[in-house]
Structures are given as C-alpha cells and as structure tokens.
C-alpha cells in the first residue's frame, strides 16, 4: 500500500525529467523535508500533519518553483551536468540541515490514528496504509486531470515534446518549467507527510526515497501514469513481503533485486512503451 506513495514520488521525478530533462537528485530529500515539516507541525505546533498539508503543500510548491526559477533555469542550456550538480547541492544542504536541526536519530510522526487497524477478511490493515493508497490515487487523478484538461497542463506536455514549437506558441517555457518543478515538489510534499506517518525517517532517508523513485519508474516504465502506479505498488509490496518473511534488513536488497531483474528482462519497464 506504500506503493501508491512511491508512485507519487516517482511521478514527480519523471515529470521533471520528462519536461526539463533534469534528474532531480534532491527529490528524496525534499520528500523528507515534508516529513520533517509534518513532524514539526505535530510535535511543536500540536497540529495534525494532515491538516498541516494546507500549509506544507503550498510551501513545497513555492520551494520547487524557486529552485527551478532561480537556479535550474539559468543552467538548462549549458548541458546535463550543471543541473545535476545543483540538485546534488540542494540534496547535500538539506541533509545537513536535517542533521543540525533534528539530530541523526530516527523520527516518526505518531498521531493517534496511525496505530489504528481495521479488519479486512482475516487480516488487519493499518488505517494509515489505507490512507496512503487513497491519497496517492487522489494525487495521481488530480495530476492527470490537470495535465489533460487545463491550458497550463497542455503547455507542460507541449514543452516536454517540442520545446522550440512550444516557445513559438507563445509559451513562456521557463515559467512552465518553474511551475512544473513546483508541482512535482508539491506532490513530493504530500507523499512526504504520509510516508512520515507510515514509516520512521532519518536525515539520510532521502537517498532511499530517491532510489525508490528510480525503481518505481524503472519497474513501471517511463511515460505511463498507470505503469508508475503499478510499479510503485509492485515495489512496495515486494519490500513489505520481504520485510515480513525475510526480515526488514532484506527489504532494500530485495527491492534492488527486483529492479535488476526488471531491467534485465524488460528494460522498458513492466508497463512502459518500447523505446522507438
């Protein structure tokens, strides 16, 4: 059920990569930023983190917009490496801020409803897992509607296909890029709060999420939203099952193994289009 959130994180990454051709190495750390934000809301402000989303999501959007607008847009025409270095830099700065502000100890967002379970047949499902998948599907549905129904969504798709033509349509591509990055980070923000509610996190967790995002995209296949959702679910389930039957230390290993197997057998992803 965590897989839905993995998919939301992965979708944000693939959106950024598809439109700007930027691999955002800070994506996982930005997810964790939102987890910490949820933690701060609950622990210091005594506000429910889900309620806190009202503040967190716009802030995450703004942060994404600013990173793209004032850093990445300036180097987009200079090749692949400079944007990569910027996102790597953002990642390092964030991880160290977390270390200073929250110590290297593991944190979790522990609300009263996190531990609640409800029965489904013979099994008991934690309520929070149920929330995770519902929220993930809602976010993805929202993104899909936005991309297919609005002028801005159309402009984002156009800019990702033929940049030169997009400019000639009168689209301010730099602005579209900034908004796209903002949207991707806002999605990471939603995922971050719910991931924080579900599993504990440390300043280094961002790296794991980054790999998970890559894995989700690889398993699901680039460019297909349903594929990414299923990829996330497959990866999430595999990890959970491995954790239950082999022990939690095996989770990441089995996840990587799955990615390797998919890459070997079906490099375009389980549900992806064949590269042409």
């Amino acid at each position: 059920m965590l897989g839905g959130l993995y998919a939301v994180v992965g979708l944000g990454m693939s959106l950024v990569f598809g439109v700007m051709n930027v691999i955002n190495l800070a994506h996982g750390d930005l997810v964790v930023l939102s987890s910490y934000a949820g933690y701060v809301f609950l622990t210091y402000l005594n506000v429910d983190p889900i309620l806190g989303l009202v503040v967190i999501v716009p802030l995450m959007f703004a942060l994404g917009f600013v990173i793209q607008n004032f850093a990445l847009n300036r180097v987009l025409t200079t090749g692949v490496e400079p944007p990569l270095m910027i996102t790597f830099g953002v990642s390092m700065v964030l991880e160290n801020i977390y270390l200073i502000a929250f110590s290297p100890l593991s944190r979790g967002i522990t609300t009263t409803y996190v531990t609640k379970t409800f029965p489904v047949g013979p099994a008991y499902i934690p309520l929070v897992y149920f929330l995770d998948i519902v929220v993930a599907i809602m976010v993805m549905f929202f993104l899909r509607t936005f991309l297919s129904r609005t002028y801005l969504g159309m402009a984002i798709r156009a800019a990702s296909q033929v940049t030169r033509s997009a400019k000639l349509m009168g689209i301010n591509t730099n602005r579209v890029y900034s908004l796209t990055f903002g949207i991707a980070i806002a999605m990471a923000g939603v995922a971050g709060v719910f991931l924080g509610l579900t599993i504990p996190f440390t300043p280094q967790t961002g790296g794991t999420y980054l790999i998970i995002a890559f894995g989700t995209i690889i398993i699901g296949g680039l460019g297909s939203m349903l594929g990414t959702l299923l990829g996330g679910v497959v990866l999430g389930l595999t990890q959970t099952l491995a954790g239950t039957y082999l022990g939690t230390t095996w989770e990441t290993f089995v996840g990587f193994l799955l990615i390797l197997v998919v890459l070997t057998i079906r490099p375009q992803g389980l549900f992806g289009r064949k590269a042409t």
Binding site: A155, A158, Q161, L168, M169, G170
Partner: protein, 241 residues
C-alpha cells in the same frame, strides 16, 4: 496593400557560438504583402526568421515590428504581439491531439478568447484537420502535419506570419494546395514572410523576394524583375530556377 511597413530588419548580425550566420541582413515587409526569402541550405533564412521571433538573439542590428524593437524581447512576448512562426520541419506536438495542437496555437492572452472562432476558420481552410481532430499529431501524414502547423500558426490570429519551408518533403500536388491556402490566408489580411528553397515557386507565390547567400542578402526585388536576373541562378545552384 498599403505602404505601411509592418516589419523592418536592419543590419542584423547573428552567431551560433563563434560561427557567424548572418552578416548585416536588412529587409522589410509591408502590411498585406507576401514576401519570400530564397536561398540554399545554410544561407541563413531560418536564422533570420528565428531572430524575428526571438529564438535566436541577434548580436547586432534591429528588428522593428509595428514601431517596436523586437530584438531584446523574449519569444512569448513577441508571439503575443501578433507574430507567428510556422517552424521548419513543422514542429508538431506528436503526442497531443490535432485539436490540442491547434488550441496551443491560441495560447497567448491576446488570442485565447478567440480560440473557438479561429478553430472554425482553420477547419474551413483545412477540412481534413477537422476530420482528424482527435488523432495524435504524430499520426498524421507529412502533408497533414504541414497543414496542422500552418493552422496552428493561424490560431493566434496573427498580423504577421513567418513560414519556414512549408513545401519541404511534400508532393507537388500537396504543395499546390498549401500555397493556395497561404494565398487565402493572405487575402484575409495576414502579412506573410516565407522561406523557400524552390526559386520558381517563391517567385510565383510572392509579391517581392529577397535572395540570401552565405548569411547575406544578395538580391531583392519584385518577382518580375528577379525572374530576369541571371544572378539568381548563380546565387542558387542545384535546384531548378
């Protein structure tokens, strides 16, 4: 046709890195005219158009459109002033539907409200686009894609349309139809500056022509005077004159 000049390009220099693509290019287009820019591959035709729409920043010179200098404005502002460019190679969005491609043509603030009216006009000019409106842009044939590119360029209800090599890779019968439509667009009040490699076609379809060679304008005049100029053959080897 009036004597009012809509576009004046003066002493344009442009570079790609250290390679100089344009050397002091000057040309003007009057309101209501069809003007052609002729020349071989690499003569600087596309670069000249791209300077007008801000895709390429000129190093020197000025581009005056209706009394305003375009040379320092970003592309999206230039498009919003009523200039549109049909790009070389059509530049269709392959994974957007025909209708979405056309909608994007009316993306600017200036043209968004008139979108539904313009799309009717485009469908009237190119009925095939209406039939294919739900198909992906990339699934169209070359000729249909060119029609879509022109239709999309028209969606912004432009005053000045720049067209880059609309005949490239198309069958003569399709080219005939496209140029007929361009005449129709022009008689509807749109000023047109087009780039073409085919000399005979250019002279036939335009009021005036500029001939480019190696980044410079080498000749210019009305179609009739240019036809007599033997230079045109020298300026342009290879294809028929």
């Amino acid at each position: 046709m009036t004597d009012e000049t809509i576009l004046t390009v003066e002493n344009l220099d442009a570079y790609y890195g250290s390679f100089q693509a344009l050397f002091g290019v000057s040309l003007d287009v009057k309101k209501g005219e069809i003007v052609s820019l002729i020349g071989a591959n690499g003569a600087g035709k596309t670069t000249t158009l791209s300077c007008v729409t801000g895709l390429v920043r000129p190093a020197a010179g000025s581009i005056m459109y209706k009394g305003k200098d375009l040379s320092k404005l970003p592309t999206h502002e230039i498009i919003n002033m009523g200039v549109s460019q049909v790009p070389e190679g059509r530049g269709i969005f392959p994974l957007l539907s025909v209708r979405e491609n056309l909608y994007l043509g009316a993306y600017t603030k200036r043209s968004r409200l008139g979108r539904d009216k313009m799309i009717e006009r485009v469908y009237e000019l190119f009925p095939i686009l209406s039939e294919r409106q739900n198909q992906m842009g990339g699934s169209l044939s070359g000729g249909e894609q060119q029609m879509l590119a022109i239709g999309r360029g028209l969606m912004s209800d432009p005053e000045l349309m720049l067209m880059d090599e609309v005949s490239l890779g198309l069958a003569p019968i399709v080219i005939d139809r496209i140029y007929k439509t361009i005449e129709k667009i022009n008689s509807g009040g749109v000023t047109i500056l087009f780039v073409e490699q085919n000399v005979r076609r250019s002279l036939q379809e335009s009021d005036r022509s500029y001939v480019m060679k190696q980044g410079r304008i080498t000749l210019h005049g009305t179609a009739d005077t240019l036809k007599e100029e033997a230079e045109i053959k020298k300026a342009y080897f290879g294809l028929e004159a």
